[in-house]
Symmetry: C2
Subunit: 370 residues, 2 copies
């Protein structure tokens, strides 16, 4: 029988990150029982055979060897906003990370903005990403991105250029952050920020892991800014996560003659993203850096993670800009109707939700600038 | 005693175009009485002295000499949508033109889109304006603009390049359209379209006339597209007219690093303009070219000018995207409350307005793509 930390580390090595069915099973059975359920199948099943090949002592050695630490929910360093990933889903992805390998400084749970976009960015896009990240960092905000070529790297560099804090969430193990060309960038950002992955050391990134890490980028950030993204782009997935999590989504416009503006322009046109021309637009949405951004003008602000779990579940089930029928919150949270109604009342009373009695829908409170 | 046509021509020469107080006086007294009121003052007042200097036979000769015609409200060629200018105001400007000098083909009353923007446009902006106008013209839409350097000229050229129809509303007399460098462009567009001014032949453009013509550009168009405009720009005035007239307003985004995108981006961010990446976005807002664009899905479409005058007044007093308190419609139309209520009811019934009984406001019906 392994402990929770070992079970979580083993599960990270065994199952694909962010898979919906697995996330639901983890919530239902807990990490220890779930790991035992896999491991006990032994040679009888493919999951069992894979579980037998998970070498926990080797994983721990690889973790130590690269100077990483493995953190899990409940640890002091675990960013509370990640819990919201357990109550929303995008496509077939869901779930807060089973655990995270971290190199560098302690993870921040707030005051960070994600700046993400195309790998094959234009000079214009990289210039905007550098300037935007630098201006945000100068105001004390951390920059979260994915260390990828193009916009991601430009965002990290903009923050670091201002001696700012930057966090990179990678789809590979943190021992050999992908892409290898950005190893020096990764080393530099660990000085003030952190390198993070839910994939064990030694693992190469998979297509699946590239998508899965987008949910972590969105969850670690107070807002997400898309700088450039073609019609088919991973940034669209990050945008979906931002919306699902109720994080403000912004997008930077650019020449309509560039295919890299297709996704930002579509998101703005459809009202999904707010048009962003620079750091001032982010400040307008989030309020001044350092301020607790919500609720607005309704008594003393309280951090969202101070809410009881059942309240948090309901509140996190309401996406930014959507009017959610109260009935839909039963489906989204799994709470019985009577409980949802009580929780909605309390959330409305405390300023976390706004109610439209006409059509029995609720929405997030409007902030200034929205 | 002069006739209405002569009175209107004389008034065009006497009073600044689009001045609010004058427009209101014209509505109250009619052109003949208003002209006589000025002319009868003789040498006693400055208006009287100026009226004495208006040389109607010389004006008529100048009109004939450049092959222009002078049209007035009530003429077959007078575009009905101009009447809406009598019931809205922007700043201290209002009023449909007292008359119009026209060279070229008969004015179109529908099926036209305004494409306007900065004089000191960028290469990017001109490229976008040419392409947009060409694509709109290829779909059978006419292009309205102001013949100015930069975006205006690019828009005219884009339309003409597709053998399309283009209308230029200028702030000078139509005999010597301003700027002189675009005389050949003006000659060309008269082959299929028209050159229009409310300023008499022989007049040089004034700052006032440049602003005043923007309301004609907006009123002649089914929609207005702003391509590039710095923070201080005449295009902002055209945008205000589009909003006041309930014409859909679109704006083309561009590099946030260019000062010429300040106004388009602000208009989009604030929800005043719809983001436009090309002709398809205009088509989405207006419906397919040739179709009567409204109302949508509520019985057979009827052209807006088929409405009785009092109904039209109320309907035109509601701008795009605004929720107007019914009480405000009394002020805007000058109709008594009981009449406004009756007219609102009829407009709602016929699908021309939507009512929000909760707060006693009305709005234009939502179209697809908004």
């Amino acid at each position: 029988m392994v402990g929770e930390r070992e079970a979580r580390m083993a599960l990270c090595a065994l199952v694909p990150s962010g898979a919906l069915a697995f996330a639901r099973a983890l919530l239902e059975f807990g990490p220890v029982a779930l790991w035992e359920a896999f491991a006990s199948q032994g040679e009888a099943t493919s999951w069992g055979r894979r579980a037998l090949r998970v070498d926990l002592p080797a994983l721990q050695r690889a973790t130590d060897a690269c100077g990483a630490r493995f953190i899990i929910p409940g640890d002091d360093e675990w960013p509370a906003p990640l819990a919201a990933l357990d109550v929303v889903q995008v496509g077939q992805q869901a779930g807060q990370p089973v655990g995270l390998w971290v190199r560098g400084q302690p993870l921040r749970a707030e005051g960070q903005v994600a700046v993400v976009g195309a790998r094959a960015a234009s000079g214009y896009g990289e210039q905007v990403a550098v300037t935007l990240a630098a201006d945000l960092a100068a105001n004390g905000r951390g920059i979260v991105s994915g260390l990828a070529f193009g916009i991601d790297a430009a965002a990290h560099r903009g923050a670091l250029g201002m001696r700012g804090l930057s966090t990179a969430v990678v789809a590979s193990g943190v021992d050999e952050p992908y892409p290898a060309a950005h190893r020096h960038l990764a080393d530099t950002l660990m000085g003030s920020g952190a390198l993070v992955s839910e994939v064990p050391p030694g693992e190469r990134p998979t297509r699946h892991a590239f998508l899965a890490r987008n949910r972590i980028i969105a969850a670690l950030s107070d807002a997400v800014v898309i700088v450039e993204a073609a019609a088919r782009s991973g940034a669209k997935n990050t945008a979906s996560w931002a919306s699902a999590l109720g994080r403000p989504l912004l997008a930077v416009p650019g020449p309509v003659t560039s295919s890299l503006t297709a996704t930002p322009h579509r998101l703005i046109r459809e009202g999904v993203a707010i048009l962003c021309t620079g750091a001032a637009d982010v400040d307008e949405v989030l309020g001044p850096p350092g301020a607790v951004p919500e609720p607005d003008g309704r008594g003393a602000p309280r951090p969202v993670d101070a809410l009881a779990d059942a309240l948090l579940e309901v509140r996190d089930a309401v996406g930014a800009g959507e009017d959610v029928p109260v009935a839909a919150l039963c489906l989204r949270t799994g709470q019985p109707m009577v409980e949802v109604l009580a929780n909605v009342s309390e959330l409305v009373e405390r300023g976390w939700l706004e109610e439209n009695p006409d059509d029995a829908t609720v929405r997030l409170p409007r902030r200034r600038g929205r």
